[in-house]
Symmetry: none
Subunit: 123 residues, 4 copies
Amino acid sequence: MIKIDSRSSKPIYEQIIEKIKEDILKGILKPGDKLPSVRELSSMITINPNTISKAYKELERMKVIEVMRGKGTFVAQNYKPVMNEEKMNEMKEHIKKIIIEAHYIGVSKDDLIEIMNEIYKEF
Amino acid sequence: MIKIDSRSSKPIYEQIIEKIKEDILKGILKPGDKLPSVRELSSMITINPNTISKAYKELERMKVIEVMRGKGTFVAQNYKPVMNEEKMNEMKEHIKKIIIEAHYIGVSKDDLIEIMNEIYKEF
Amino acid sequence: MIKIDSRSSKPIYEQIIEKIKEDILKGILKPGDKLPSVRELSSMITINPNTISKAYKELERMKVIEVMRGKGTFVAQNYKPVMNEEKMNEMKEHIKKIIIEAHYIGVSKDDLIEIMNEIYKEF
Amino acid sequence: MIKIDSRSSKPIYEQIIEKIKEDILKGILKPGDKLPSVRELSSMITINPNTISKAYKELERMKVIEVMRGKGTFVAQNYKPVMNEEKMNEMKEHIKKIIIEAHYIGVSKDDLIEIMNEIYKEF
DNA sequence: GTGGTCTAGACCACA
DNA sequence: GTGGTCTAGACCACA
């Protein structure tokens, strides 16, 4: 189930994208599984259908989910990681930012790796 | 020197904040060092003074820099890491997001730690 | 045999129309050949009968196939190309679009003609 | 100037995308040129800003245009053709469709190449 | 002023 | 019922 945090500064459509990706990673959603339709999910979490649609479109673009005409939307059967220099640099930027932030709240390198290990255990 | 990428999706004021924090962490800027004034930096990097001002205000709020009335702006003398649950959770959220993204571009846990180590070497 | 790609953004009824036209052009289907009934084709390719029906109606309207009441549906005996300014303009629009797309994926004019020649060989 | 054909079955945002790509190809728009803002173009062609925005976002995704924070939207400085198997196959599908259509309106291979040459002259 | 997000609601093609 | 397109309009962060 998707929980939206309306207090979060993270856009709703991004929260949806991340949650679905997370659920796939955790195996809660498996390749071939049917996702709720835009309207279904919309009424389930009382978010405007356009917002759901935006999230689904983005996930489709990333080839994480696929729309089967007349059948609905499904978790992609064989997702292949799409790696390119741009995405790699983006990720490095994010990591760098975290490392800086960590330092400023007093979290050392070892602490950070420890935290990462903890989070990896969830998956 | 601060390089602004106006093509980036990251807000300019955030780029400035991050760059200054990074320079402090790397020792390029040391406690007590004088920062250029808002106007100076504004003309140096041809960015709207309001944007510079916003970055400085934010850095001041975080106690990373200090304004000495009539003298200018300086790197704080004794920065003390401010840790609280909220900031910790925020950081964990960011890490979780990175871990998910990493997976979707085909970067394994070991790769990720490797990349983190690389970035830590810069500091 | 008609293969439907339900992942495609192309509507199913259009895929059917195109495939039948293609088969006629290739000589796999010849004038006078009997086509499967709507129900037959529907169960053959597990597609909603309404969708098959829509494709057949469209092909009939184009005079590519003919319905003989009580006997079934057949490839038209003497198809006469129907040319008019509107169809011509439509085709030109499509070609223009392809030329633009080709350029943006780095396909030159010569490449494009080469590709066209290749495809013509299939027919 | 962008002319929208509201009678066309082609979505408005696609018409905008194609027109801008066409103008760049023809040299009417050059790398670095500023595009009208979403609101400007919106009032120029009396189309809802959301629709313009959708077209711009798509063009940005394709790296045909780029948004410079606080400065506006510009034709990308150095567009690099993005080629991949998927796009190639898509183009081939389109060409195949045109070849079939051409045949059914009585346009021969030579005619088709002739028409293509004509259109290439516009660019 | 600039684009980004979100809602509400309408209409349509497709299956 | 399903997603796609479009409009109108609000609110916000950023520069």
